[in-house]
Assembly symmetry: C2
Homo-oligomer: 225 residues x 2
């Protein structure tokens, strides 16, 4: 667990890719930041080849924009793509949580409960970073329990823009308690197999994250397209 922080996984290319992705999604590398193969290769102490490989992968996910012979930049947040990602997640999460109400492995249900406890602790510690990770983890467990983990991975690819706005909003207005409460209610609904109830909460949960996008565009105009 600690080792992956130092040397994430396998090849140098994968390492650079994972580190850059984490830095971009966490806004440590703000939208619009210009990168370059050479500069990045120096920073990570590898050659340009694995850096270039990571750029290709990041570009495919829309996290960076490569302009041939001109440069590479962290992509700006595109409001339309944010809305699309939210739409996509709403549809799929609704369907998944409904599946979960029909059948959900006992072990995964326990994992959800454990995750909820961790969320409560993270909120008490005011640990936003951990809280965000646990939020992601909660939904991942949902998909995994329904044997739809591949779907979750695909969602992740489009979530680049969506997640960054979520982080921005949580900077301006930490509303972890509400998110926690929604997670808890979803857990109960699944446990009691109340599909309609679960789907309704999930819908609110998803729409919550998008409500005031205009506010964010005004507060952080340089981050948006």
């Amino acid at each position: 667990m600690d080792d992956r922080m130092l040397q994430p996984s396998g090849s140098a290319g994968s390492m650079v890719y994972q580190r850059l992705k984490q830095q971009i999604v966490s806004l440590e590398l703000p939208p619009g930041t210009s990168l370059s193969e050479k500069e990045t290769s120096l920073a990570f102490e590898v050659s340009r080849t694995p850096v270039r490989e990571s750029f290709v992968r990041l570009a495919q996910e829309g996290l960076v924009l490569v302009l041939p012979q001109r440069g590479t930049r962290v992509s700006l947040i595109d409001s339309e793509q944010v809305e699309e990602a939210r739409f996509m997640r709403e549809q799929l999460e609704k369907a998944v949580v409904r599946l979960a109400c029909g059948a959900f492995p006992e072990e995964r249900l326990a994992a959800l409960e454990h995750n909820l406890e961790q969320q409560r602790e993270a909120i008490q510690r005011q640990d936003s970073k951990n809280m965000f990770e646990l939020d992601e983890e909660f939904h991942r467990i949902l998909f995994d329990g329904c044997r739809k983990s591949g779907t979750w991975n695909v969602i992740q690819q489009m979530n680049a823009h969506f997640n960054r706005t979520r982080i921005l909003w949580l900077w301006t207005d930490p509303h972890w308690e509400l998110l926690y409460e929604q997670h808890r209610q979803m857990f109960l609904a699944i446990k009691q197999q109340q599909a309609d109830q679960a789907e309704r909460i999930m819908m609110e949960h998803m729409r919550l994250s998008i409500a005031n996008l205009p506010v964010l565009k005004e507060r952080y105009p340089e981050y948006f397209k």
Copy 2:
């Protein structure tokens, strides 16, 4: 210079990527085919670098499997991923066709109608390849008309396995007339804004494509995981 590049989308890397992807999805390169950077670079008359770049992108989409220091091969079709892709498409296409029944640009509606005409002609010509393309195009127009083209692109990434089974099934049982009829009925439902009707047809349309996956696994066992 290089007239053989019929679709020279910019860089050599992109060219190789597009060509390989097309060959893989169309089963021209069957699942399990082993590739190699060197061999491919010779075939496309480029160096290993752009080939490697294309491999990275294809691997990210799950179209090829790269085993470090061992080789690269076209990925086998994974039944679970096929089912997941179908699930994903069903949820998203249902939601989109419902949106379309609420509001759909006149111009896009005309595009659908034109597409239907082309489908009929392709069926008469027994042009399976064109028919498949028109099928894809039909659904793409749907997403595009609802301003969800980004969603369609993400779907495409997971569709690698799903599409290959669809092609396999169409090899064994060409049922273009039924697909055309479903497309036509969806078009009518959208035009008359009958959301429930449209959603129902779309659901049947999606489930049709998956019905007899066991038959395919028996007929083409070497293509499946």
